[in-house]
Symmetry: C2
Subunit: 345 residues, 2 copies
């Protein structure tokens, strides 16, 4: 039995079935309020009967848009980003926009290529989870004016004039330190993120501020680390062990750092929280099931993604072109679990 090869119905086909012009069909689809009720019903019925589905390439060509949003992610492999992406995708899906994810740290992708890609993709908007991107953009003067609206999420541009949505990193770091101090810790160290990164700096600043407010000691050699990854925490474990005077608590700039740290300490016979209290930042899924369960600062990840998407939509539709760039800062939350303990015990 052969199946009839049915051609894909187009607007013209719907128009014929409904007994109207293609223009009217298009209007029903795009501005239904401008069409008389009976006509509209007829068109909707014809749409159903023909099984019509719009050809987005044609619509986008005509509207001079692409219908897609590019999201720049520093590292797709990092589980921190998954919930953010989910928030972004969900929001754009409701508006018929595709999300194209681009990993900015792919081994074979130099920064110039990212800019190149942004131009070629001709997206309707960009969300960057990588705060390092604007450098590339700003170097290339004029690049910005020929790119679609850009929103930063989580990270942001240090130079200050792009809209952004982020967590309250400063306050989160402060909360972390105050939590440790409340448990009795007087010597608190910090495992930082990569140098130059805006998150690294905001979290260090919050940490330092809290230490000062509480009148605690602050030593240069208690600042370790240099990346948000697991292995950075593992390396810092060894450095901590080698310190002459050790902090009794460490605030880690990410959960991943904390996992690497705790794991490597464990290998060396140092136990958390018996010998050392550890607090992370992010609250990724595995945090509640690590051993010990990780005390951390929770970022509202899905919400961050959704808020960034909404803000970008505002810009795309021209609802936000005026004045100062928006900077939304979402609150974070202390989640107390088993990796921090009273000191001395």
């Amino acid at each position: 039995m052969r199946m009839a090869k049915t051609a894909i119905p187009k607007i013209k086909d719907v128009a014929r079935v409904a007994g109207v012009s293609a223009a009217t069909v298009s209007r029903v689809l795009n501005h239904p309020e401008t069409v008389a009720e009976p006509t509209r019903q007829a068109v909707l019925e014809a749409t159903r009967r023909t099984g019509y589905r719009i050809n987005l390439a044609a619509r986008n060509l005509r509207r001079r848009r692409t219908g897609s949003i590019v999201v720049l992610v520093p590292n797709l492999g990092n589980p921190f980003f998954s919930a953010i992406l989910a928030g972004i995708e969900m929001t754009f899906a409701r508006h018929g926009l595709n999300v194209v994810v681009f990993d900015t740290q792919q081994p074979d992708v130099p920064p110039e290529l990212v800019l190149e890609y942004l131009h070629n993709s001709r997206s309707d908007g960009i969300i960057s989870l990588d705060g390092g991107i604007p450098e590339t953009l700003l170097k290339n003067s004029g690049a910005r004016s020929s790119l679609p609206p850009i929103i930063f999420a989580c990270e942001w541009d240090a130079n200050g004039d792009y809209p952004s949505v982020r967590a309250d990193n400063f306050e989160g770091a402060r909360m972390a330190v105050r939590h440790l101090a409340a448990l009795g810790h007087r010597k608190i160290g910090h495992l930082q993120g990569p140098p130059g990164n805006v998150l690294t700096e905001a979290r260090r600043a919050g940490m330092t501020a809290a230490i000062c407010e509480l009148g605690l000691e602050l030593r240069r050699e208690w600042f370790l680390g240099g990346s948000f990854a697991l292995e950075s925490g593992a390396r810092a474990a060894i450095e901590w062990i080698d310190l002459k005077e050790r902090p009794s608590a460490l605030f880690c700039a990410s959960d991943q750092i904390a996992f690497g740290l705790i794991s490597e300490l464990h290998r060396n016979g140092v136990y958390v929280p018996r010998d050392l209290s550890v607090i992370g930042f992010d609250d990724i899924d595995i945090a509640s099931r690590f051993i010990p369960p990780l005390t951390t600062i929770r970022q509202p990840r899905t919400q961050l993604g959704a808020a960034a998407a909404e803000l970008l939509l505002d810009h795309i539709e021209g609802r936000r072109d005026t004045g100062e760039p928006v900077r939304e800062i979402l609150p974070v939350e202390l989640v107390v679990r088993g990796s921090t303990a009273q000191w001395p015990q």
Copy 2:
């Protein structure tokens, strides 16, 4: 100082600068071998000078394609998928194709909507990491013929006629059991994935086969679990504790299950590997830094993604339309770490 608002150059502009027709410019871009050398050079130079970038919406409209690939993911939040997506994206990026990720288990997305989405998106091809999708497709007869080529990766369709790329799940499970038996374990249990899932069945089959080959005991009550998630492992921990006769080793159908299990056991004073050996499946990033570091079966995740993408490209370009659907099976690898130990000690 005002910046001149330069219009985006189109093919016509390049043609004017190069002193040729638009058709020739298009040929240089698409079939350079059909254009005379000097002409080609002139066009390339003009492309550079004008800063021309192709409008993909126009090309796609004309070519009757969309330039995008849909990837169906059962759960974007699961870190298992990140490396696979990276492999997929990298491959398609080289071919100028966009990847659109769609989460099939979003709370507010019923299965019919997935099919709806696949039709509306009109992608050039589909990769499904969710083996449950074909059910929806097949129910709706005729749906398949109006959809672009589909490849399954990791999971596959139980009914058997879609091409797929997957790991050797049966052999992986077998390796896991043999490893445990080699350590002296005689009572081996299994924490399974969700019922009906192809991976669940392949891994259980491999596990069962190995148990039989080795002449070990196999008890119904040693099969626990029911999902690949963390919490499934945590629930199974309690069940294991309540068993009258406990297996001394558990093979988990995913690393996440193993983490949930080990974590919950630990809370209850049961230590791995002292009291119980545990082996996972997948080898996600955190496995090497869990406490204890997890012994597991490694799936070549990036390679799985890349292979699926290549296979889909073959189908899109019509290089594979003939005969039996391809089924690539990639080898897995036993990674021995600290969660399994000699028994009795």
